[in-house]
Symmetry: C2
Subunit: 223 residues, 2 copies
DNA sequence: CAAAGTTAATAGTATTACTATCACATTTTG
DNA sequence: CAAAATGTGATAGTAATACTATTAACTTTG
């Protein structure tokens, strides 16, 4: 798996960037440090000027890679979901039992994420924190319909569609496969957010992840 | 119920405003039109200057009621959850069967909202659209922990705690009552968002609401 | 080695998110 | 009923943000 991943080049929608950040040192530096800075100060306070200072480069240089910080966030989140999809394919292919397949998929989208050493310029653990704290903001804009048409959220939808397909394998009669899949993926992020900030309305504690809650849920719903 | 509601004065955390907007004509005008304007142009593009133009008043006058637009949004969402809590109490008290109680509570938080004529300065139908499109933003800030300590989200948590209590009545053995309750409330909003913007990953169609999906879910999980 | 592309630095603009001040009208109160 | 307090509107001003444009130096490539 290590070897497979090291060959992996995650290719994203070209409309997300002005210049592909994976093709230069500066580009990779922008990705690496935007993750760190966004995690430190949050998406609202994050600016290209501050990022420029952090990487000892210039604001205007960053604008040559990304039109604005919103598109950078969409890029980073798409990268994350693409990485997630890749791991999901790896974890579920060649497993014939659909229930086992579903368990693996749910485990992936609900568990705590560790850094994947094969991608030196992306720290997946920190990126996953950004997903928990900021992902909803990529969707919740007045431009969501236009951006959706341009394919900004394709990777995310593909991850959910894979889970929908597995749910349908497990129980073809269940009438809400789409809603169940999307609520698991979004709900897992939300439970992690609550664990970090509004502890009284979640059962997850400290280092716990949402796997048990959702595994129990789908089994009771589908079996 | 009409009479009860007409006597209802929704009282919110004093830290949310500089001057209580319910106590003056201008204040109520700010509430009414901020809901309309925010729904039209979205929270990001919404400014006090634009609102001032809309209500033929001045930017600086609005600042005398709310420190900034984030606090105004928290105010509006708290108002909504307070109204929701009130209706939930009304709908569930004096019902002895816990399952029936849970069904009523779920119906309330998942169904499409209609305007409540007893509050002339608040259009609940439009406010509920703002909740679907913007509520997550009230939580997803770097100040969430401070604001949580100051009680900004108390009303929201109270709504969820009421559902938690009913879930525990229905099935005291179920180990994830908190996570289930919070995922129903947040998940219902998310499903409505998907219905409006990412139709392919939800089963809700056009004018449908999330009640069936969640009622089916809790019954299979708890009974 | 010339052309093309990449980057850093500087400057400049419109908008946003406020703050401060003042004038005027209305309401309260002593 | 006069003085004081309060509410509102108008104007001005500031720092920060989110960009765009230009230029000059440096690097890569054909």
């Amino acid at each position: 798996m290590q070897n497979l991943l090291s060959n992996l080049k995650i290719t994203l929608n070209e409309k997300l960037y002005v210049k592909d950040p994976e093709t230069s040192e500066l580009g990779r530096n922008i990705l690496k440090n935007s993750i760190l800075l966004m995690n430190e100060i949050g998406f609202e306070a994050f600016t290209f000027k501050k990022l420029g200072e952090k990487i000892q480069s210039n604001e205007s240089s960053i604008y040559r890679y990304f039109e604005n910080k919103h598109k950078l966030l969409v890029y980073l989140t798409s990268w994350y979901w693409s990485w997630m999809e890749y791991r999901m394919v790896l974890a579920t292919t060649n497993i014939s039992n659909p229930v086992e397949k579903l368990e693996k998929a749910i485990k992936l989208v609900t568990e705590n994420v560790a850094d994947d050493q094969t991608t030196p310029h992306i720290n997946e653990e920190i990126l996953s924190r950004i997903i928990v704290e900021e992902f909803a903001k990529t969707l919740m804009t007045k431009e969501v319909d236009t951006e959706n048409k341009e394919g900004f959220f394709l990777v995310y939808k593909r991850v959910i569609n894979r889970i929908i397909a597995i749910i349908q394998e497990v129980n073809p009669e269940y009438p809400f496969a789409k809603s169940l899949a999307s609520s698991i993926v979004e709900g897992a992020l939300h439970q992690h957010f609550l664990k970090n900030h509004l502890k009284t309305i979640t059962n997850l504690s400290e280092k716990e992840c949402a796997t048990d809650f959702y595994t129990d849920m789908v089994k009771k719903i589908l079996l």
